[in-house]
Amino acid sequence: MDEPVAVDEPIEDEPPPRPAPRIAYRHRLPTRLWHWLNALTVFVMLMSGLMIFNAHPHLYWGQFGANYDHSWLSFRGRPFPGWATIPSTYNLAAARRWHLAFAWILVIGLAAFLLTSLINRHVQRDLAPRPDEVKPGHIWHDIQEHARLRFPTGDAALRYNILQKLSYVGVIFVLLPLMLLTGLAMSPAMDAAWPWLLDVFGGRQSARSIHFICASAILAFILVHLLMVLLAGPINEIASMITGRFRVPPERNGE
């Protein structure tokens, strides 16, 4: 490409031009909007949640639990440092304001995404694992491919692989609803309105523990998610989540 060539002369030895990269539409607008809304909201929820946790950094199982009772996880002082909390200095009132306001954004976003994605069949078509994908052999194969950092190419890169499907389904249909319901189970007013919340989770302090465990799982998901974006090509991946358009990695040859 660097050699200047005369325009009109046919060239015999020129290698065939590289095919233009194939651009495919991979993420629809509702997915992209929800993704970036969550990128903000989930961090606010996690960081204000850590501030709230700092107010009483002990977790219990059962209906009650306070300082003199047996805790299964307990820290001294205020375990989470300022860079991890909102606000960055101890302020339970402000952290609750952030947490309980952004909880509405999280819930409304989740509801809107689920509704849209059921109607446009994103859930049924893209997220739901197919029967052949959940066979242990297939899952094991995908784990090995991930471990070798051999990510899908060609058309396969336009579909979620089974590990992606399981993580996304796990977050959308298990972790986020559990966060919401355990959050509500910590509310004395909601426990009166919906007493089944206490029965489902085995008590307010159990709900608080599950809330913390699910938040940790969501944080783990985010870390792995970010790692995968970095390994799979951050510019193409992030651009595709902004514009929807994804440059399809060409198929590997001879493999």
């Binding site: 009132a93 402000a94 909601m190």
Partner: protein
């Protein structure tokens, strides 16, 4: 060792945090966050049947030790005198927008048929304790005083001070007339200990612990909270911006 990426991430997180703290200092932003409180209250009231009760537990479910929080010994001379007298001269004043202002001797309050409820106390900090409470339904006190139709809030004035500021709290009439909202004089089968609010405290079971005013000496019915102390309806609300509605 910090990788370059870690350094960038830490920098970004620092910027974001700085941003959050700045937002937190902005009155407009805090006002926006605060509007969620009304949304939460409206939504919770919407899904709550008016007769929904807080769970009442059995004796076996009670916390072995019920911790106290906030004031554990009011520091005023008046309170010390009452304590020495065994609260023999403690009276509960009921005034404000009522037809018949009352001043009820403690002994009389304790002699009226009362409610016993084993309920869970949820602190805003996150802990919970289950205890048994003995007390008179607030609705009966308000009815005896002839609550005015102009009254919208019930304010509880307390004998304890935080620094030089008196503790107080308030609820609306839905919580005030809730059957489990009681003025408790007993706990776990005994008279209230000082640390838990002797001789009288509020139990408002659909809300968090800081609403449960201790050392209650006066109940005032008002049509607006604007002119009561800082105007936000409670000591913590006025001084550190806790939500007035503490249902979650």
């Amino acid at each position: 060792m910090i990788s370059r990426r870690g350094f960038v991430a830490a920098g970004a997180s620092g910027l974001m945090l700085g941003g959050c703290d700045r937002l937190n200092h902005s009155a407009e932003f805090r006002g926006a966050l605060r509007s969620a409180e009304k949304l939460t209250m409206g939504a919770q009231r919407l899904v709550s049947p008016r007769d929904a009760l807080a769970r009442e537990y059995g004796e076996a479910d009670m916390s072995p030790f019920f911790r106290s929080n906030g004031t554990s010994m009011p520091s005023t001379g008046d309170y010390a005198r009452h304590l020495r007298e065994g609260f023999a001269n403690w009276r509960l004043v009921v005034d404000g927008l009522v037809a018949r202002p009352l001043s009820i001797p403690l002994k009389t309050l304790r002699s009226i048929p009362h409610r016993v409820q084993i309920t869970r106390h949820d602190c805003v900090e996150g802990w919970s304790a289950i205890g048994k409470w003995h007390g008179l339904q607030l609705s009966r006190i308000l009815s005896a005083a002839g609550l005015s139709t102009r009254a919208k809030y019930i304010v509880f004035h307390c004998a304890d001070r935080f620094g030089d500021k008196p503790y107080y709290e308030s609820v609306d009439l839905i919580d005030a007339f809730h059957p489990q909202t009681i003025i408790a004089w007993g706990m776990n089968g005994h008279l209230l200990p000082v640390a838990n609010g002797a001789p009288l405290r509020l139990r408002v079971e659909l809300q968090l612990g800081y609403k449960h005013a201790k050392y209650v000496e006066r109940i005032e019915a008002v049509d607006s909270l604007d002119h009561v102390f800082g105007g936000k309806g409670g000591y913590w609300e006025d001084n550190v911006d806790y939500e007035w509605y503490a249902g979650i």
